[in-house]
């Protein structure tokens, strides 16, 4: 699980059969100092995160499997929208 900032949205018509009906968002994983780390990831959103939201992303595909089928290849899903983090990412150490 990690914290990520939602940087964009994505639509797709041609996709794996288990992915119908899901919203896709572009998430940027965050370091402790608030900077982005690694490459942008496509995550599945079932709870309504928006661009700019700070979210908690799970890397276990159980969340997607429960909502779809056992054959889904996707792992990353938004687990929750963050209300507060202490200390805030980017705050002085």
């Amino acid at each position: 699980m990690y914290l990520a900032r939602i940087d964009g949205t994505l639509t797709s018509t041609i996709k794996h059969e288990t992915l119908g009906g899901f919203r896709f968002l572009i998430a940027q994983r965050l370091e402790g100092d608030g900077s982005g780390s690694g490459e942008p990831q496509v995550v599945i959103d079932m709870i309504g995160a928006r661009v700019g939201s700070l979210v908690l992303v799970t890397t276990d595909n159980e969340a997607v499997r429960k909502a779809s089928k056992n054959t889904t290849p996707v792992r990353l899903a938004v687990m929750g929208i963050v209300d507060s983090v202490y200390p805030e990412p980017g705050a002085a150490a």
Partner: protein, 111 residues
């Protein structure tokens, strides 16, 4: 699931029996800088299994790791990257000013 741009395809002459009929594409993963600059690409190329048939130059989302073989469940197949979706429309708006760590600078002391 990362984003990647399709750069080509791979065909095997001899392959493990479980790989029969699996299409393979060459993907160039997309980095945040290159995506923001409107010139997707920049990552280290990799090969992914594919059942969707994207064209060269199209952007796809690909899963990595053990779950990339899930579409063949309950059969086991030695695939660790799988093309999940073809990107139709991408709206990417990262914050313009990246949050910088607010670290107090120490003064240099002249010797």
């Amino acid at each position: 699931m990362r984003l990647g741009v399709v750069r080509g395809t791979v065909v095997l002459s001899h392959a493990l029996p479980t790989l029969a009929g699996v299409r393979l594409v060459i993907l160039e993963p997309v980095t945040a800088e290159r995506l923001a600059a409107g010139n997707p690409g920049g990552g280290k190329c990799l090969i992914a299994a594919d059942q969707l048939g994207p064209g060269i130059g199209q952007m796809v989302g690909f899963a990595e790791g053990r779950t990339a073989a899930s579409p063949w469940y309950p059969n086991d197949i030695p695939v660790d990257a799988y093309c999940c979706l073809i990107v139709e429309n991408l709206d990417y708006t990262p914050p313009k000013v990246a949050a910088k760590p607010n670290v107090r600078k120490t003064k240099k002391v002249r010797q």
